[in-house]
């Protein structure tokens, strides 16, 4: 008897749940599959998406975090497909293993916007991302323009060198300083981690008496290097440059006078929602959007930085 009541109750609840969305239904459901929310930059990407989506009441966002696990992300994409969402935004962990689930979503008639990392086969509606080589090059060019010609000694605190962003930020930078008199005297892989950056910078400081410029592949690295220099009493007159420009990291460091400059690596979160709206309206969207970057220094940080050509 009791189990029958339970059944009826459950059924009633299910009906209620099924009917409920009809009353307050936004027109479109967008699924967002984030590969890893352990990184502040990706947390920012989700925040950018949410901020933009909140401006459009017709959109309902569903966020999923794959916790840095390819198979989990694959399962999430499949869940989204069977839930029949209207559009999928994915920031994939890896190019190869996610190609198939994404193309399944496409063949189920769900448009897909790929953010940040590309997918092999390119079977998706649109790719939005920034170019690390270009940003690395912009850092190099800016340093040559402002500090070239004085034989400046450079320390490069690199991001994980087994990751594409780390390699690209390095190669773009090298490309831009080629032929200039900027001299990279010390180079270490801090794996994007601030405590490691501090340790590596301390080694550089104990080894070299003259260091003029520190280029960190991300803002926390540049910040860690700054703390090391400060502890040695040598931060004055040293130039610290980082990449990413998250509001509460790089941009805040520039405001506090810790970093000389930070170069933005945009998340594309807001742009993804704008593009999704275009897709819903049936407008044609480009296959590929490369986001522009911005640069923040003490002079322009309050005005929101300047765009880099």
């Amino acid at each position: 008897m009791r189990s029958i009541t339970k059944c009826i109750f459950c059924a009633a609840l299910l009906c209620l749940l099924a009917v409920f969305p009809v009353f307050s239904a936004p027109k479109y459901t967008i699924g967002m599959s984030q590969c890893n929310l352990g990184e502040p930059w990706r947390v920012q990407m989700n925040a950018d998406i949410k901020n933009e989506a909140d401006k459009h009441p017709e959109i309902k966002m569903v966020f999923k975090d794959a916790q840095n696990d390819v198979l989990q992300q694959r399962a999430q994409v499949e869940e989204f497909v069977s839930a029949k969402i209207d559009l999928l935004i994915i920031s994939p962990k890896e190019a190869q293993p996610l190609a198939e689930p994404v193309s399944k979503a496409m063949s189920a008639g769900i448009p897909v916007i790929v953010l940040d990392r590309d997918i092999i086969g390119q079977n998706y509606t649109e790719f939005i991302g920034a170019d690390n080589v270009k940003i690395g090059r912009a850092v190099g060019a800016w340093l040559v323009k402002n500090y070239g010609g004085k034989g400046a000694k450079v320390v490069e605190i690199m991001g994980l060198q087994t990751s594409t962003p780390g390699q690209d930020r390095h190669s773009g930078f090298l490309d831009a300083i080629k032929g200039s008199d900027l001299d990279v005297i010390f180079r270490a892989d801090a794996k994007w981690l601030e405590p490691d950056a501090r340790k590596e910078m301390e080694s550089a400081l104990s080894r070299y008496d003259k260091i003029d410029i520190v280029y960190g592949h991300n803002d926390p690295s540049a910040h860690g290097a700054y703390i090391a220099a400060q502890a040695a009493g040598r931060e004055k007159g040293m130039v610290f440059v980082g990449i990413d420009s998250l509001p509460h990291e790089g941009v805040a460091y520039v405001k506090q006078g810790i970093l000389t400059a930070t170069f933005q690596y945009p998340t594309g979160g807001g742009e993804a929602i704008l593009q999704a709206l275009k897709i819903f309206k049936g407008e044609k969207v480009p296959k590929r959007i490369t986001l522009g970057s911005r640069m923040f220094t003490k002079d322009n940080v309050d005005a929101g930085g300047v765009a880099i050509p």
Partner: protein, 356 residues
């Protein structure tokens, strides 16, 4: 440091005398030298000497001989060292604590949150973080001693939980002096306590974090070598059943060992936050392995019952110097990992008791 090594020497007298008997007939001095070298402490020293020797050869244009390099090495090893203090006690019971990195992160973000965002007085924040660390440690302690979970499983669970907890209280972002209140953004002053912990004393020659490490080290050493509880930990590691039958309060002693490890994580988290000038929920990832390696390289057995704080200090310095030497030579990451692996094997091989 000699005083700290005397302890293991005495404990290893059994093994030493075997070695001595082998060397029988030799001159007395040679005999005692052989005994010292074949003792656990002697072999742990050998590992450190090996690494320092590498430093002398690969001195990076003399950077290895600069005073600052050694000061930095001690400071950089301090957080690991504090964790290794708690780890030694746990490993002596035959257990292991995988949760140290996660609990460190909880302490680190809590300390930043309380002092930077909530404006608690520094002493209250420190007490709260130490309490939080101990409480988390005691949770795994209770699971192990009362619910009889295996230490590996219980602390693995706590490691996962603590990492999640750190992310939960921070919302996945770093806690820094950059505070958002509604739409407004305020950049606060770095609390004085952060500057104090990250400063140096004795004319800039000793970092406060190193002092904190040394205090933790001496506390753990006294507890282990001079206190009844320490003896109990050794006996539990030697043979838990025998210890129980001879009246050792096994449950309580083990529970306290994990609680102490949690307390050390609390201390380490505060030091980590001060050095980073922020609370990072990802802080301390992988630190548990470094701490375990430091304790094991010193010669404390993973099976329990054998080891000491003096040995752990040797282990801490060995790994600390190895990292520093690789760093000043700007060795690429791939080589660094391979070299570290090889050195760990070499150090543990010299540890292996050939007398059995």
């Amino acid at each position: 440091m000699l005083g700290e090594i005397r302890e293991p020497l005495r404990r290893d007298a059994g093994a030493g005398s075997k070695a001595g008997a082998r060397a029988g007939g030799m001159h007395g001095v040679l005999q005692s030298l052989a005994r010292a070298l074949t003792s656990t402490a002697g072999r742990a020293c050998l590992g450190l000497v090996l690494v320092l020797f590498l430093g002398v050869i690969f001195n990076a244009d003399g950077a290895f001989f600069k005073e600052g390099t050694h000061r930095d090495t001690l400071r950089q090893s301090s957080v690991y060292g504090i964790l290794a203090c708690g780890m030694t006690l746990v490993m002596l019971t035959g257990g292991i604590d995988l949760s140290v990195g996660g609990v460190l992160a909880v302490s680190s973000v809590s300390f930043s949150l309380l002092t930077m965002h909530m404006d608690w007085p520094w002493w209250l924040a420190i007490i709260a973080c130490l309490f939080l660390g101990s409480a988390l440690g005691s949770a795994s302690g209770a699971l192990i001693s009362n619910a009889k979970l295996q230490p590996f499983i219980a602390t693995l669970a706590l490691m996962t939980f603590a990492r999640g907890f750190a992310k939960y209280i921070t919302g996945g972002q770093k806690i820094s002096t950059y505070v958002t209140q509604g739409d407004k953004v305020i950049i606060k002053q770095l609390p004085t306590v952060f500057k104090v912990i990250d400063s140096r004393i004795l004319g800039g020659n000793l970092a406060i974090v190193s002092v904190i490490f040394l205090v933790c080290f001496i506390a753990a050493w006294i507890l282990l070598a001079r206190h009844k509880w320490g003896r109990e930990l050794y006996s539990i590691g030697g043979n838990e059943e025998a210890a129980r039958l001879s009246g050792v309060p096994v449950r309580m002693a083990k529970f306290l060992a994990y609680t102490f490890s949690g307390l050390m994580c609390g201390v380490a988290g505060i030091c980590q936050a001060a050095q980073e000038t922020q609370g990072d929920p990802e802080a301390g990832a992988g630190y548990e392995l470094t701490a375990i390696a430091m304790v094991a390289i010193g010669g404390t057995s993973l099976a329990g019952g054998r080891g000491s704080m003096g040995l752990t200090l040797l282990g801490i310095l060995t790994i600390g110097y190895l990292q520093k030497i690789l760093s000043i030579n700007a060795v690429a990451e791939a080589y660094r990992l391979m070299i570290t692996g090889i050195i760990i094997v070499l150090a543990v091989l010299t540890q292996k008791r050939r007398s059995r």
